[in-house]
C-alpha cells in the first residue's frame, strides 16, 4: 500500500508532467510531454525495465464476433493472454476495459472468462455497451463485477487507487457515453479523502475525453468526473472502445486507449463509419491487435504505458 508513495514530494504547483511512453512493435518510443509527442528508436529493453509496480490491460475481446477481419476472436484472445503471460513479470493484476462479448450472451461471457482465467492474474472488468444488451447487464455484472451490481467500484493496489467506471449504460439519444449523477456522486465521495499524492488509475470502456463527437467517441459527463481528479498529481485514464491506440496528456491527466484483441477500427473520420476495418492485408491482423502494460517507474511520478501487438 505504501510502496513508492513517499517519493512523490512535488506539490500541486510543481507537478511533473506525466510522461506516457508507448512502445510500438517496431521499437519506436513515443514520449508525450505537455501534449507534444516526440519519438526515438529504442531497444526492446524498455519493456523489461524494472519498476515498482505494473499491471496489464486488455480490451474489446468481442467474443461472438466472427466476420472479417477476424473469424476467430477466441483464438486472438487466447494469443493476447499468452502475451500477457509472457510480459507479466511481477504484474499485480489485469484489467479488461469492456466489450468482453459481442452480444451479451452467457456462452460468450463464459468463453471469455475461461480464456482470461488462464492468465492467473486477479482481473478487474468494466462493461462495454456490447455487454449490457440482455437484462440491463445482469449477466455481466454477476459474473465480472461481483459486489458492484452497477459496474462501478474502486480498489487499491501498491498505493495506487484504481477506479472502475461504467459509462455505457442508459445512453441518451444523440448523446455520448454517460456516467450519470449517481455514479458521479459516488466518484466524488470515493476520492474525497485521498491525499493529492495518491496515484490514480481510472478505467472505463468509452474514452472519458472526446476523441470524436461524430462517432460518439467520448463521454458526455466525463469532464465532470475529471474535475474531481484534477487535484491529484498523477491520473492515468485507460479506455477501450475505439480499437486503436490514442493518447493525450492534459496537465496531470494522461489518457490512453488500448488496442482490441478482436479487430481494428479506423481512425476518426477516415472511413464511412467506425465499423471494423475489414480489408486488412493478409497477415496484418495480429499487428493491430494487442495488449498494454502499465508500469510505475521507481523515482518517477509517471506511469509508463507499453503497447505490444500480438505479432510485429
Amino acid at each position: 500500500m505504501t510502496q513508492g508513495q513517499d517519493h512523490d514530494t512535488s506539490g500541486p504547483n510543481r507537478r511533473q508532467l506525466l510522461e506516457c511512453m508507448v512502445w510500438a512493435g517496431a521499437g519506436l518510443l513515443w514520449t508525450v510531454s505537455g501534449g507534444v509527442p516526440t519519438s526515438k528508436l529504442i531497444g526492446g529493453a524498455l519493456a523489461a525495465e524494472s519498476s515498482s509496480f505494473s499491471f496489464l490491460q486488455i480490451s474489446d475481446s468481442h467474443i461472438g464476433f466472427n466476420k472479417d477481419p477476424n473469424t476467430d476472436t477466441p483464438g486472438t484472445l487466447r494469443e493476447a493472454i499468452a502475451l500477457v503471460d509472457k510480459q507479466r513479470g511481477g504484474a499485480s493484476l489485469l484489467i479488461h476495459t469492456g466489450d468482453v462479448s459481442q452480444l451479451s450472451k452467457d456462452a460468450q461471457f463464459d468463453t471469455a472468462d475461461q480464456i482470461i482465467r488462464e492468465a492467473k492474474l486477479p482481473t478487474h472488468y468494466v462493461p462495454g455497451e456490447h455487454d449490457l444488451l440482455i437484462d440491463d447487464g445482469k449477466g455481466f455484472f454477476e459474473r465480472f463485477t461481483p459486489g458492484a451490481p452497477r459496474g462501478w467500484y474502486s480498489f487499491d493496489d501498491h498505493g495506487v487507487h484504481f477506479i472502475a467506471l461504467n459509462n455505457v449504460q442508459d445512453l441518451k439519444a444523440g448523446g455520448l457515453g454517460n456516467l450519470g449523477p449517481d455514479q458521479l456522486e459516488w466518484l466524488k465521495r470515493d476520492v474525497a479523502g485521498l491525499a493529492a499524492s495518491t496515484p490514480i488509475v481510472v478505467f472505463a470502456h468509452i474514452p472519458l475525453w472526446t476523441v470524436s463527437q461524430d462517432w460518439g467517441w467520448g463521454t458526455q459527463d466525463g469532464e465532470q468526473a475529471l474535475s474531481y481528479l484534477r487535484r491529484f498529481g498523477s491520473v492515468t485514464v485507460l479506455n477501450g472502445h475505439i480499437h486503436q491506440i490514442m493518447q493525450k496528456v492534459e496537465g496531470t491527466l494522461a489518457f490512453h486507449t488500448a488496442r482490441s484483441t478482436a479487430f481494428p477500427q479506423p481512425a476518426p473520420g477516415s472511413a464511412a463509419s467506425p465499423g471494423p476495418i475489414k480489408d486488412l492485408a493478409p497477415g496484418k491482423l495480429r499487428t493491430v491487435l494487442g495488449v498494454a502494460k502499465i508500469s510505475r517507474v521507481q523515482n518517477a511520478t509517471s506511469l509508463a504505458i507499453v503497447d505490444t501487438p500480438l505479432v510485429g
Binding site: 455497451e129 439519444a173 444523440g174 448523446g175 455520448l176 460518439g216 464511412a272 465499423g275 475489414k278
Partner: protein, 110 residues
C-alpha cells in the same frame, strides 16, 4: 335487451374488422442500417403502417424509442436481423440506437 347486446357486439366486430383491413392496406415501410446510420433518418408514414428496420452492418444495433416511457425497444439486431413495429397513432416518434446513441431517426405518422 338480448337483441341490443347482439347488435352492440356485431358493431364492435365490424369496427374491429375495418381496422384490421385498414392496417393491411398500408404499404409497409422499411429502414436499413448501414455504416452506423439509419438510411432514412426521417420517414413519413400513414397511421397503421408497419415499419421494418434491417441491420446491414457488421456490428449489432438497436432501435429504441428516444422518449420515456419507451413504446418501442428492439432486441439487439445482429447482422441481417430485422425488427418490426406498427405505428398506430399519429405523431412524431424519435428513436435511436442504444449502443451508438449518435445514430438517430424519426418516424412521422400521419
Amino acid at each position: 335487451m338480448r337483441d341490443n347486446a347482439f347488435i352492440a357486439l356485431a358493431s364492435l366486430c365490424f369496427v374491429g374488422g375495418a381496422a384490421i383491413a385498414y392496417a393491411a392496406e398500408m404499404e409497409p415501410a422499411s429502414v436499413t442500417i448501414d455504416n452506423f446510420s439509419f438510411n432514412q433518418a426521417s420517414l413519413t408514414v400513414k397511421a397503421g403502417t408497419r415499419v421494418t428496420w434491417t441491420n446491414r452492418d457488421d456490428i449489432p444495433h438497436t432501435v429504441v424509442d428516444a422518449d420515456d416511457p419507451k413504446a418501442m425497444k428492439s432486441p439487439p439486431l445482429d447482422t441481417g436481423e430485422h425488427f418490426e413495429h406498427t405505428f398506430v397513432k399519429p405523431g412524431t416518434f424519435h428513436y435511436f440506437c442504444s449502443l451508438h446513441p449518435h445514430m438517430q431517426g424519426t418516424v412521422v405518422v400521419q
